[in-house]
């Protein structure tokens, strides 16, 4: 991480004077705390940071940060963030969204912001439920989830946020967990350092309407068998005893026990910089209990951002033909003079 050349920020500097209104025990608290911590080291002054959100519990986030903030409308935060970045490439723009906000009503905007590679950092707080509207199933709820709007169990196939982001050509894609504080902080810092659109899915516990959905990834007794921590250039090993790994079998991934003829060399190596997101896509589709769910950076590649491309077109044109001249613009057609 680049050290800040500025007067160092503390997490306290980043706390706003607004009262926080999330339910006690909500995973959002932890994310807020790690965000404040992460931002103390990214080298961006507070006034240059902007948090843009949609609507949902998680989207209250901007009010709690002593930065610039814009709490917008349901699902559309990526569009406001895109306009902000186009106007002001000097600002660091974070988008906070929920699984309903980002993938249901705003699915369209999310994929388009990612494909354009707008330099925004999208944090999708996934609690597999609609919190603010009090507990309806969401586009990430598992099949059969019983909620007030799915009393017999949900029958809509869930979306996998990471797969969506990869399909949308996102240049940075990661997953982390609300109470895995170290990992969360690191992931936020990596997103901050990424140039281009970064997408982070955060497993977030909704204490009230979906308590414990991600317990299998946080409960110490089972977590290591259910979560694969990805590291660039390292083999995909997991398990309490580090005795399991992920191997390619045909066009699918499989979990294998190491030993009994299976060598570490047989396992997949993680390459977050691969040009094609083929393997990353497969990783994004690993679901418990058949396979561990991966956490970490699935993809991190560089390509020009929308803002850069827009600026370059402008600069090239101005270089070739000079800056725009109003007088000439007005007269760029056949003229006639009336005396």
């Amino acid at each position: 991480m680049a050290a800040s050349p500025l007067p160092t920020l503390t997490a306290k500097d980043l706390a706003s004077d607004q009262e926080i209104r999330w339910c006690p025990g909500c995973g959002d608290y932890s994310i807020l705390a790690q965000m404040k911590k992460a931002l103390t080291t990214v080298g961006v002054p507070r006034e240059k940071m902007v948090f843009v959100s949609g609507i949902g519990c998680s989207s209250r986030f901007p009010y709690y940060m002593n930065t610039y903030g814009f709490h917008t409308i349901h699902g559309r935060a990526p569009t406001f963030a895109t306009g902000l970045r186009l106007a002001r490439p000097d600002l660091q723009v974070w988008v906070v969204t929920g699984d309903g906000d980002g993938l249901s009503i705003g699915g369209n905007h999310l994929i388009h912001a990612l494909r354009r590679n707008v330099d925004i950092k999208v944090l999708l707080f996934n609690n597999e439920i609609y919190g603010l509207t009090k507990g309806q199933y969401s586009p990430t709820s598992r099949l059969g989830t019983k909620t007030k709007s799915s009393p017999q169990g949900s029958i809509d196939k869930p979306l996998r946020p990471l797969s969506v982001a990869l399909a949308a050509e996102a240049s940075f894609v990661a997953r982390t967990i609300d109470i895995d504080v170290q990992h969360l902080t690191n992931t936020l810092q990596r997103a901050a350092a990424h140039k281009g659109s970064a997408f982070i899915e955060i497993y977030q516990n909704c204490k009230i309407f979906n308590d414990g959905v991600f317990e299998y990834t946080t409960d110490k007794s089972v977590k290591s068998d259910n979560v694969l921590y990805l590291e660039h250039g390292k083999p995909m090993i997991y398990g309490k005893d580090r005795n399991k790994g992920i191997r390619l079998n045909g066009l699918s991934l499989e979990s294998v026990a190491i030993g009994n003829g299976v060598q570490i060399d047989d396992l997949l190596m993680h390459d977050e910089k691969a040009d094609e997101p083929t393997l990353a896509s497969l990783l994004s589709r690993m679901v418990c209990p058949d396979l561990p769910e991966c956490v970490g950076v699935l993809r991190s590649v560089q390509r020009p951002t929308l803002e850069e491309l827009q600026q370059k077109q402008m600069d090239d044109l101005i270089k070739a033909r000079g800056p725009g001249d109003l007088e000439k613009l007005f007269k760029n057609d056949d003229l006639w003079v009336v005396e």
Partner: protein, 633 residues
């Protein structure tokens, strides 16, 4: 004049004050192009001009069918004109379908130029003619000029070695050449255009040049045309002129506003007829620092524009009626967060997809009320293509001076229609002074506000000036960090606040802020009689027909005035007073009575509507007839 007493020689020339001509043909026949070229030539001749393009919603309906007819009407004159003309003096019909759909607009005794080669049985069948109108006597009342355009055109381009299909594509220029001769138009502008357009394709360049000249020569040498006509230059205000359409004027106005205010501009739109050419035009303005984005839909487009405004740029979005529906929620957010935003609505026939290529003025109430909650926005409307330039400038001024979304209600007729535009003197354009705070505005008054909001050194995003406008503090400014959003605000601090009394206070404050715009706009002027028997009140693109009708009524001695509203919300301060000066009030609109409803509700005036909902502009005669009827009763 010719000295012969028998049939006039081909060179006989007659002077006319003004002429309305329509080119009509299949949508593949190049009628829009022919009409545009004719318009340019007339403008350069020094005539006043007004045009009305009319094209089908289908890009290419089957050739020769009634659904595929495309027309372009030009009114050119030696006097000041404001409309594309009520009735046609001349109709050029390239096929039976064009004849059938357009003949009703040709004046009795009018000139009808037909492409006689296109009247075979299959073409007649496609146009659902039971017998050939060229032979069955049904066109008796017109001066028919039959020209075998297909054949003559093919002969003209024979040496160019084009395929028959390619050759036929030039026939619009043959027809154009003929009409150029008929009305003594100069061919040079079109020849120059052909040169530039086809410089990479010398064969096509040659073919079009030849056929244009052949059409002209055909007129000159052939006896089918008894006479040709001259329309002298118009006496219009001195200046340098060009032709401009409404959408072109919007583009130029926005560029000028950005440049003269020294502010960045971000425009985001999603293609929709008839607004697309604004997006296209601005996309080509990168050398002026204008940034554009073709968004994934209209919701995204307005989000991008609002995000840009939050960042301190001038955010602009543009669309037509269906797109406005999608933008409604975001407009509400811009009202709540009090950010500047220009929303261009090029209206078309609705509801829903409606009449995509036809004009209507039916989004006024949507602009006024089409959102949840009490959600006032400013609304202005240009009255002609050239006026789009002035009014879009005004839109930027109001949006930034009052921190509000503003609707700019144009329509398909203004957007595509063209008129002469006197090129403005840049040094005389209004200056836009836009400022952003750089220091906290807390004044030490902490009473009544939680969180010590009024503390010195605090920034209060909703502390207002004397016109109730909040400051436009932009991200990146140290010490002014603040959060805004769609949830109700506490007065002054902008903190989230759900209290009953605060909400009512804020609703009223937002409404009063919009009402305060009236202190910065000109009074409503009346044209014609300043008081008397009848006042015509209109808005937007109907101005041309209304002013022409009122002028004629005044000439006939009636005491009739015209008040044309360019500011619809708020309306000029003297509107009520103006309405009271007349015994009767007539409100002609291309909708079922939307301004009428607003005027009756707000000013308790017993106004009467004249409502046309046909996707077409008013004819002057329709307005005159209604005025006469009202005066007689």
């Amino acid at each position: 004049m010719s000295s012969t007493t028998t049939a006039p020689s081909p060179s006989a020339s007659q002077e006319l004050e003004s002429v309305t001509i329509r080119f009509a043909g299949d949508s593949g026949d190049g009628m829009q192009l022919a009409g545009t070229q004719f318009t340019n030539a007339s403008a350069i001749m020094g005539n006043d001009i007004s045009t009305l393009p009319d094209f089908p919603a289908e890009i290419r309906a089957p050739a020769g069918t009634l659904a595929g007819v495309s027309g372009f009407q030009v009114h050119f004159s030696s006097s000041d004109i404001h409309t594309p003309g009520d009735v046609l003096n001349t109709l050029v019909a390239m096929n039976p379908a064009a004849l059938k759909t357009n003949l009703k607009d040709l004046e009795p005794g009018g000139i009808l130029i037909v492409n006689s080669d296109a009247f075979g049985t299959s073409e007649l069948d496609k146009a659902r003619y039971k017998s050939n109108p060229l032979e069955d006597g049904s066109l008796k009342g017109y001066r028919i000029i039959r020209v075998p355009i297909n054949k003559l055109n093919r002969e003209a381009v024979a040496e160019c070695k084009l395929s028959p299909r390619e050759a036929d594509r030039c026939k619009n220029f043959f027809a154009l050449g003929l009409v150029y001769w008929m009305y003594e138009r100069p061919m040079e502008p079109t020849l120059k255009w052909i040169q530039e357009k086809f410089s990479k394709n010398p064969i096509v360049l040659e073919a079009n040049t030849r056929t244009l000249k052949a059409g002209y020569n055909y007129g000159e040498t052939c006896e089918v045309m008894p006479v040709h006509y001259k329309v002298p230059k118009a006496k219009i205000a001195p200046g340098v002129y060009r032709k401009i359409t409404g959408n072109e004027a919007i583009v130029m106005g926005l560029v000028a506003a950005s440049k003269l205010s020294g502010k960045d501009m971000v425009f985001s739109g999603y293609p929709i007829t008839p607004a697309s050419s604004v997006l296209e035009g601005l996309a080509d303005m990168k050398r002026f620092g204008i940034k554009t984005l073709q968004a994934e839909d209209e919701i995204a487009a307005i989000g991008v524009a609002i995000g840009a405004s939050f960042g301190g740029a001038i955010g602009v979005t543009g669309t037509s009626g269906p797109g406005i529906c999608l933008k409604s929620e975001a407009i509400g957010l811009a009202v709540m967060t009090e950010l500047p935003l220009v929303i261009i609505d090029v209206q078309r026939g609705g509801p829903s997809t409606g009449l995509p290529t036809k004009t209507e003025q039916a989004d006024l109430l949507q602009a006024m009320y089409g959102r949840n909650g009490e959600c006032p926005v400013a609304i202005i409307a240009p009255r002609s293509p050239g006026d789009c330039f002035n009014m879009v400038f005004e839109a930027v001024r109001i949006a930034t001076e009052f921190m509000t979304p503003i609707f700019f209600l144009s329509d398909g007729y203004i957007a595509n229609g063209a008129e002469p535009w006197s090129i403005p003197d840049i040094s005389k354009l209004p200056q836009l002074k836009i400022t952003h705070p750089t220091a906290p505005n807390g004044n030490g008054d902490v009473k009544g506000h939680e969180n010590g909001a009024g503390e010195l050194g605090k920034f209060l995003p909703y502390k207002r000036n004397e016109l109730l406008v909040r400051p436009w503090a932009i991200p990146g400014t140290p010490g002014l960090e603040h959060r805004i959003g769609g949830i109700e605000k506490e007065d002054v601090t902008g903190n989230v606040n759900y209290e009953a009394g605060n909400h009512e206070h804020m609703v009223k404050t937002r409404a009063q802020k919009i009402a305060n715009i009236a202190t910065t706009i000109p009074d409503l002027e009346v044209e014609g009689s300043q008081s008397g028997d009848l006042l015509v009140v209109g808005w937007g693109g109907t101005y041309g027909s209304l002013t022409t009708a009122v002028t004629r009524m005044n000439r006939k001695g009636y005491k009739v005035g015209l008040a044309h509203l360019r500011y619809l919300n708020p309306m000029p301060k003297n509107t009520g007073e103006v309405l009271k000066r007349f015994k009767k009030v007539l409100v002609p609109e291309l909708n079922a009575g939307q301004l009428l409803l607003l005027l009756r509700a707000k000013y308790l005036v017993d106004a009467v509507g004249l409502n046309k909902i046909q996707g077409k502009p008013f004819l002057v005669s329709e307005i005159e007839a209604k005025i006469e009827q009202m005066l007689a009763s």
